[in-house]
């Protein structure tokens, strides 16, 4: 018993269970402390991220339908990757994403920056405005889809948008119904814009408040008129880091668009004109065909694409550079 106590002592001293005033920390004790702080987290990360990703990579080389443990004769090599890359629907889903990103990234960026500037400028009721624009973030995409689909953009007479159009004598528009409805991008883009632009506005406001006031004073003394000039030469350069962060966050979020497409569009988003990559993967791997092999191959391809785009965008916009903060 006494022997065990002696060997355990350095560890417990470092761990703080011992009350002795002089610490005797050995290397072993400090290591132990590190592991009981970080160990549980790392273990979970291995079990729920590393092993699954590895397993999924393994499955992508097999004809794995309805199973997570395919037999060795189901090995198909790179067939799943070839099938996915030559799959018309998968490639079309990447086009859908690109259209979506091309719409949502610029408008989110411009609106959240505009809101931040306007809220930062106003002198009264600032907290009220900030709260109102941020409040939609409390709404899930499911709730927002419900309002958009059933009330605002209901394709019938009593829908709010159609009511407004009716006041101006314009025919009702079947927003989300029918075969390839022409206006569905408007519905989808406004929904995401409404939810997320307050969130990014908060980021921009935080950055705006970091800009030292004396820069504007100096500009005033130098004869720069407040407004466009100071915005272009003082405000915007100081928002560089935040702008890059916002652009990347919006783009990565758009890549993973799922909720609103699933809930707004017919057939759980499984429609040829607006199937996002994630929706397509979901229906491939967990729909009726349960093709986990092809689904895994698709997930790997997507993960790779996101990594490349992120790195490329980061390089392009100089992410991580300290200047301008």
């Amino acid at each position: 018993m006494a022997v065990t106590d002696k060997t355990a002592e350095p560890a417990s001293a470092a761990a703080g269970t011992s009350r002795r005033p002089r610490r005797r920390r050995t290397f072993g004790g400090r290591n132990l402390a590190f592991w009981y702080f970080v160990g549980p987290f790392l273990l979970g990360l291995i079990i729920f991220t590393y092993i699954p990703v590895g397993w999924s990579a393994y499955l992508s080389f097999f004809d794995a339908r309805n199973t997570v443990t395919p037999a060795s004769e189901d090995f198909v090599g790179l067939d799943n990757f070839v099938t996915m890359l030559t799959d018309e629907n998968f490639r079309r889903s990447l086009v859908t994403f690109s259209i979506f990103a091309a719409i949502i990234v610029p408008i989110t960026f411009a609106s959240s920056l505009g809101l931040a500037l306007a809220v930062n400028k106003v002198r009264i009721m600032r907290a009220f405005f900030r709260s109102v624009f941020f409040l939609p973030f409390a709404c899930s995409y499911v709730v927002a889809s419900l309002v958009w689909k059933m009330s605002i953009f209901a394709g019938v007479r009593y829908g709010m948008a159609n009511t407004v159009l009716d006041w101006f004598g314009i025919e009702s528009i079947p927003w989300l119904f029918g075969n390839d409805p022409p206006w569905f991008w408007l519905v989808i883009a406004t929904l995401r814009l409404w939810i997320q632009c307050g969130f990014y506005m908060i980021l921009f406001i935080a950055a705006l408040q970091q800009i030292p006031e004396h820069l504007y004073e100096a500009a005033y003394v130098d004869g720069a008129r407040p407004g466009w000039q100071t915005f272009w030469h003082i405000t915007l350069p100081h928002l560089r880091a935040s702008s890059v962060a916002v652009l990347m966050l919006v783009l990565i979020a758009a890549y993973q668009a799922f909720d609103e497409f699933w809930n707004l569009l017919p057939n759980s988003g499984n429609v040829p004109y607006a199937r996002t990559p994630l929706i397509y993967l979901f229906h491939t791997s967990l729909g009726t065909s349960q093709d986990l092999g092809r689904g895994s191959a698709g997930a790997l391809i997507l993960a790779l694409l996101i990594a490349i785009v992120t790195l490329f965008q980061g390089k392009l916009l100089g992410f991580g550079k300290p200047e301008g903060r």
Binding site: W55, R123, M150, Y158, A299
Partner: protein, 291 residues
């Protein structure tokens, strides 16, 4: 540091941008935009308290002819929609996810920030690497794992895989790096080890940061849809978002009931926004600035 407030302002300089006219335009614009932003909330409340006839009436009705409080009890009495059960599930999942994430990520973040260890860098990069792959893409691999553990349609499958959030651990590490070392050193002199000083000194002095992380985690968990949809195969394990989505895509829809369900689903978060917004704003600013 000399505060910029103490220095004399240049003559004629007024803080804020622009003339009086531009400020008025700005204010009016903000008021109009506020109304637009609030319309969806108004519609939820209006429709939740209306009859189907009011909602689908040929002329637009700003307010229900007769407020239907009964829609609320009807929603919970309807056996086709497991509203009470899914609300309970959502509450359990969000609360446990928040508590678990906070515990695991703060301890990991502290260990990485403060305990010198030869391989700490490697561990840190192993965590950073998981940030490269967006969580939504890993839904399939994670599903493979969870289904082999037998946690499909089980609250464990909804909660446990989401606890090990590399991004939150990263934020915690960054935060603890900037935590004043002197406080901890004083604790060490008093004989506290890492574990003791973490719980008695560091955590009690980090309430604002912890609240910010907690609120963000709670909101994200309550609103998440893809993972609960993947795991919640039977209606017993639906979260409120999955229940709403099923309700929304059903063949026949009872409009007032649908909107009442939506109102009930956002109510907890509206309270969070009203009372804890300070922490939420702080959390967003922290989350975003780290990119």
């Amino acid at each position: 540091m000399v505060s910029t407030k103490d220095r004399p302002k240049p003559v004629g300089y007024r803080p804020g941008v622009g003339s009086r006219a531009s400020r008025i335009v700005n204010f009016v614009g903000l008021c109009l935009l506020s109304v637009v932003f609030l319309i969806p909330f108004y519609l939820i409340v209006r429709n939740a308290l209306s009859t189907t006839q009011d909602i689908t009436a040929p002329g637009w009705m700003w307010f229900p002819t007769d407020i239907q409080w009964g829609n609320f009890t009807e929603l919970f009495n309807d056996e086709k929609v497991p509203m009470a059960r899914s609300l309970l599930n959502s509450t359990v999942v969000s609360v446990l996810t928040t508590v678990g994430t906070l515990f695991l990520c703060t301890t990991a973040g502290y260990g990485l920030a403060r305990i010198p260890y030869r391989h700490a860098d490697k561990v840190f990069y192993a965590i950073l690497a998981t940030l490269m792959v967006p969580s939504a893409i890993t839904f399939l691999p994670s599903f493979v794992m969870v289904s082999s553990l037998g946690w499909v349609s089980d609250l464990r499958g909804l909660i446990i895989p989401t606890l090990f959030n590399g991004f939150v651990a990263f934020l915690c590490r960054q935060y603890f790096l900037s935590f004043p070392k002197e406080l901890e050193e004083a604790a060490r002199v008093d004989g506290l080890g890492y574990w003791g000083s973490f719980w008695r000194i560091v955590i009690p002095n980090s309430k604002g940061f912890l609240a910010a992380i907690a609120v963000i985690t709670f909101v994200t968990s309550w609103n998440s849809f893809l993972w609960p949809l993947v795991i919640g195969r039977s209606s017993d394990s639906w979260t409120v978002q999955v229940a709403l989505s099923t309700f929304l895509t059903a063949q026949t829809v009872n409009l007032p009931q649908l909107f009442m369900a939506a109102a009930v689903a956002i109510l907890p978060l509206v309270f969070v926004f009203l009372f804890l917004q300070r922490f939420l704003v702080q959390g967003v600013a922290q989350t975003g600035l780290k990119g």
